[in-house]
């Protein structure tokens, strides 16, 4: 189990400060939500964690290992998987092949052996396909294995992306708005899946989310960003009562009390 530590991270795009010295720590085995209004810097934060952006200042550590200077595929190989807000799956590929892509870094890179179709390559493929089917089972995608990803309904595609991330056998899972665009029932299902990922697979989850209800329901801990700055870090219960959060995030009106600001 490993701890993710974000230490004074800043990201600027020209004059715009997307993240301003943000720090928080993700404890192993928890579901940690990062929330905030639009433009608060949530996605930027996730992009820094997965190595897509390099911060202008500050560091990110996984246990004692610094991630900030690593390229994204190195970070992925350390066991950090992520999903995207706008689903990034290969539409023309089957669900199974999309999932196999998650196994990429677990398979040995043997170009020549692959080219000449050596039996050992076929054996390795088979082994990973077996595991991929298990993961598909876990997320209820078994029936769709042979279908091209583009033909799946939206909710299933979101789930496929999550399954692909799980196929990487990660220690840490970064989810970018996993329930965006879903209806109530789908949201509930997804929340359930995320909890099972944590409890049954023991994967730590960092969740960027908009949906307040879902966050309070499943997160163990919440970090709230506003205009790139951290304005809160603590338990969901404490967040609901925090005046700064209420002011910034809930537009001045906590949904529970409907009290004017």
């Amino acid at each position: 189990m490993s701890t993710l530590r974000v230490d004074e991270v800043s990201v600027r795009f020209g004059a715009l400060v997307a993240l301003d010295a943000v720090s928080f720590t993700v404890e192993p085995g928890t579901v940690h939500a990062v929330i905030g209004p639009n433009g608060a810097g949530k996605s930027t934060c996730l992009n820094v964690l997965s190595g897509v952006y390099r911060p202008d200042a500050g560091r990110v550590y996984l246990d004692d290992r610094e991630l900030t200077r690593l390229r994204p595929h190195h970070i992925a190989r350390l066991g950090i998987a992520r999903t995207f807000q706008n689903i990034e799956v290969s539409g023309a590929e089957t669900v199974e092949d999309n999932l196999m892509l998650g196994r990429h870094h677990l398979m040995r890179p043997r170009l020549a052996a692959t080219a000449f179709g050596l039996p050992s390559v076929a054996r390795e493929e088979r082994r990973h396909r077996t595991r991929v089917r298990e993961i598909a089972d876990f997320l209820g995608l078994s029936a769709a294995l042979d279908r091209p990803a583009a033909l799946l309904p939206y909710g299933l595609r979101k789930r496929l992306e999550l399954a692909r991330a799980l196929a990487m056998e990660p220690r840490l899972l970064l989810l970018d708005e996993p329930v965006a665009g879903m209806d109530g029932a789908e949201t509930a299902e997804m929340a359930d899946v995320i909890l099972r990922v944590r409890t049954e697979l023991g994967v730590t989850v960092v969740l960027v989310e908009h949906d307040m209800g879902m966050v309070t329901r499943i997160a163990d801990r919440v970090t709230v960003l506003d205009f790139g700055r951290r304005i809160f870090d603590g338990s969901p219960a404490a967040m609901a009562a925090d005046p700064a959060v209420v002011e910034a995030y809930l537009g001045g009106a906590p949904s529970s009390t409907k009290e004017p600001a």
Binding site: S50, G51, V52, R71, P72, H73, I75, A76, R77, A81, R82, F84, E88, V89, S90, G91, A92, E93, D97, M100, L101, G102, H104, H105, M107, P109, L111, T114, A115, F116, G117, V121, E125, R164, M168
Partner: protein, 362 residues
């Protein structure tokens, strides 16, 4: 019963195709074999290019350059030592293998540029390889023979002339000369190229390449080293081009710089687009279409209606061939984005149920 028949049909088709290809030298004359050889050489190159452009999504105009490296490389490694142009006199099979390796190495040398540049910038940058290549081919006369090029060394394998007539072989009354023998070498090369490309596309490498094409960011967070993948695609594609170059050199008897110009690169792009980007079978079909169309039209222009006599100022065979494949490129992208490969898949799907797709789709 019909179920079994359906399953057997494609297999029988393949077997029949292989037998026809094997028996062809017994029936058709040198022209057709020679045209077929050129098409097979092109097909090997096209398969390589479809890995790069179709699967990895990297537009490249440099293919003609890599073909030239393969062709000239073979001529240098296996050429007569002591002649006017550099020749190391290595055994032809070794020379060919080294030529392919050198092409791959040059692809690797260019890959820092390739992996830094995206999409269209790469396409345009790769144009420069063709022009710089032409410049070198014309100026390094000691190696390339300059404008007039140099002869292709004969291909012999364990004392057997593949591009000659020693020892004499006659099958069913047909003497097997250079063209007939080379035909089989072409078949072996093409089959090898096809199988290797399919293995690569179906496995870990191919999946990674297609993800890089669809989204570099997504590929990277999945643990794919994007730069390395792009470089791999470039190197592998160059090696296919190198093999195609060796085969072209053998088919043409002589390598001349004029052949490896921009037009050739454009023709290769046309092949893989017409065939269907990213499909091995499509690349082969496209190569056959683009190379055979002008040759066949030129040969039979006298018989075809609508085709004016060459030189009469009307639309002659060569112009017609260019119209045809220019229009084919436009039409394929406009109405049949999967190219001939997609068309084939659709036809098969309509003819028989549950026929497994033979192509790696994009």
């Amino acid at each position: 019963m019909s179920d079994r028949l359906n399953r057997l049909m494609p297999k029988a088709g393949w077997v029949a195709a292989v037998i026809v290809l094997l028996a062809l030298p017994l029936y058709v004359d040198g022209f057709w074999l020679s045209a077929g050889l050129v098409a097979m050489a092109a097909a090997v190159g096209a398969v390589g290019l479809t890995l790069l452009v179709g699967a990895a999504g990297q537009l490249s105009f440099a293919h003609a350059f890599f073909l030239a490296v393969g062709a000239y490389g073979y001529a240098c490694f296996s050429g007569e030592p002591g002649a006017a142009t550099l020749g190391l006199g290595l055994p032809p099979a070794l020379g060919a293998a080294l030529a392919i390796a050198v092409t791959g190495a040059l692809g690797l040398a260019f890959s820092p540029v390739a992996s830094r540049l995206r999409g269209i910038y790469l396409g345009v940058a790769s144009l420069s390889l063709v022009f710089v290549g032409q410049h070198l081919l014309h100026n390094l006369t000691g190696v390339t023979g300059g404008f007039n090029g140099r002869d292709t060394p004969m291909f012999t394998l364990a004392g057997f002339d593949v591009t000659g007539s020693e020892p004499p072989v006659t099958v069913a009354g047909v003497p097997f000369g250079a063209t007939e023998r080379l035909w089989y070498l072409g078949l072996v090369a093409l089959a090898g190229a096809g199988v290797i490309a399919r293995n690569l596309l179906r496995g870990r490498t191919g999946r990674a390449l297609r993800m890089v094409r669809d989204s570099e960011v997504a590929a990277a967070v999945l643990g794919v080293d994007v730069r390395r993948s792009k470089a791999t695609a470039f190197v592998v594609s160059s090696m296919f081009a190198g093999a195609a170059g060796v085969l072209s050199a053998l088919a043409l008897d002589r390598v001349v710089p004029d052949y490896f110009g921009l037009l050739l690169s454009v023709e290769f792009l046309a092949m893989i687009v017409i065939g269907g980007l990213g499909s091995v079978g499509g690349a082969v079909t496209g190569a056959a279409f683009v190379t055979l169309l002008p040759i066949v039209l030129a040969r039979y222009s006298g018989v075809l209606p609508l085709v004016a006599d060459a030189g009469s100022g009307g639309v002659d065979a060569a112009v017609l061939a260019r119209f045809c494949y220019g229009a084919a490129v436009v039409l394929v992208i406009l109405i049949q984005p999967d190219g001939l490969a997609g068309l084939g898949r659709r036809l098969r799907a309509r003819l028989g149920p549950a026929v497994p797709s033979l192509q790696e789709s994009t």
